[in-house]
Amino acid sequence: MEIIRLENVTKRYGDKLVLDRIDKVFHRGQSVAFVGHNGCGKSTLLRIIAGLTVPSDGRAVHSRGLLFHYIPEKFPATPVTARQYLLKMGMLDGMRKDEAGRRAESLGDDFFLGGLLDVPMKSLSKGTLQKIGVIQALMTRPDILLLDEPVSGQDKESQKVLIEKTNELRSEDVTILMSCHEEHIVNAIAKDVYTIRGGRLEAYKPAGTKVCTVILENAGGMAPTEDMMEYGRYYRLKAEERECDRILPGLLSCGWRLRGMYNEEDS
């Protein structure tokens, strides 16, 4: 079901053309990421989609009564505590106070905040503030979740929780629109990836071939190949993605056990 339609959206900042006649339709439950270099217009596009920025030309048409939740790139500090802030945001979403309190507590635990919920937000670190920025957007289920560089400053464990929670929302038909530089986050959340080049929205094609690191256990006393390096009690093998698809079945059938595999760019 179509929920947002961009019609000929153009945005200029002074003489600089940031978005150039973008036409695009977004559907309910779609998961989209915008990637590209800094200043290419990703955040501007997200804000235009949400109706927070006025396009220089064209328009963004929404279905009626959509609830947007927004995770900003830099979540600002305020004098109130994180708990007080989250309670208020939950109540603005229509939650009862006790319900909002329980939700804030539970999300605080999920994001490893411990006792930090009761510390004034102006005293929190950048990463912790960013977590509060994520939690406020997860207090209730929105129709559209906007994520603008959502993981900046966050630890890896919290990034995993964010990925998990975002995918849960996606399975509940929430539309996910994200601007992100981290490829592992994009891969873990978005189905459709676009980039903005010269103001135009284009489908993103990753450049080059990715290299993967494969961690293997020598279970049957086989001799390691010359590509393998000792890695603690395991062996490490580096190969291109397609090469991995080819060699792994052979290695596993010979008695090697797969103990880990990750993309070099994400490590």
Binding site: G51, L52, F68, Y70, P72, K74, L92, D93
Partner: protein
């Protein structure tokens, strides 16, 4: 309505958790203490002066509340409430509540002081009618002051130095409007855009008693001007967005 109330409560909570309220409060306390510890004082003229003070204090408060608004927080709240009208009404409500609180302090302090001084604080006995008129005048000034102070919101005028200078200039022109028109008759053609705060002194400058009809008229004019200023600011913010 519930969302406006929640947003207003949150706005007030953030304001009082910060330190921006301390200086205006100190100014009010000093004024009250200075004004009402020398006996006896005139009822009407002391409350007329209080109206002017409250106007300036609320201009100051409106300016600081607006300057403290963070665009990201504004964006999150605007999206959440799904109604720009709700959001901008709540911003006006925050200033209105602050204005009413200040008005309450400015009217109740002399009443209490009068009771503590065996009802000898004023030149004549203070009546409930005086208190009612005083509250209406002070509350009207507070609303207009808050609206004028928040008119040049950071989204309306990004240059904060210029916004502060212009706000101070507008508020000073507002209270000297009548005098200025007498000196420079041409000024009357533009003076009408300023809120009629100076009408309070014009009507009650030499009066010994309040007239509810006149007070009501001034209040209506102040409220209308305040509402227009709030609407202008909200429309500009809504049009320009972020």
């Amino acid at each position: 309505m519930k969302r406006i109330a929640e947003l207003t409560k949150y706005g007030l909570h953030v304001y009082f958790k910060g330190n921006k309220f301390i200086m205006p409060l100190v100014v009010i306390i000093i004024y009250q203490y200075t004004m009402y510890t020398i006996m006896p004082v005139g009822i009407v003229d002391s409350f007329v002066m209080a109206s002017y003070l409250v106007f300036f204090v609320l201009v100051w408060t409106g300016l600081s509340v607006s300057a403290d608004e963070n665009p990201v927080m504004e964006q999150i709240q605007l999206l959440r409430v799904r109604s720009s009208l709700c959001y901008y009404l709540s911003r006006a409500a925050v200033l209105a509540v602050l204005g009413l609180s200040v008005s309450m302090i400015c009217v109740l302090f002399p009443v209490i002081q009068n009771l503590l001084n065996d009802k000898a604080l004023f030149l004549r006995p203070l009546t409930a009618f005086d208190v009612l008129n005083a509250f209406i005048l002070v509350a009207g000034c507070s609303f207009t002051g808050g609206a004028l102070g928040s008119l040049l919101h950071p989204r309306v005028m990004e240059d904060r130095k210029l916004a502060v200078v212009l706000t101070v200039l507008l508020s000073v022109l507002t209270v000297v409007r009548t005098g200025l028109v007498q000196e420079i008759p041409f000024f009357k053609y533009v003076a009408w855009i300023l809120p009629p705060v100076d009408r309070i002194a014009y009507i009650y400058g030499n009066a010994d008693r309040f007239c509810l009809f006149q007070t009501g008229l001034i209040f209506a004019a102040l409220a209308a001007y305040g509402a227009v200023l709030v609407i202008i600011r909200s429309c500009i913010c809504q049009k320009r967005k972020f």
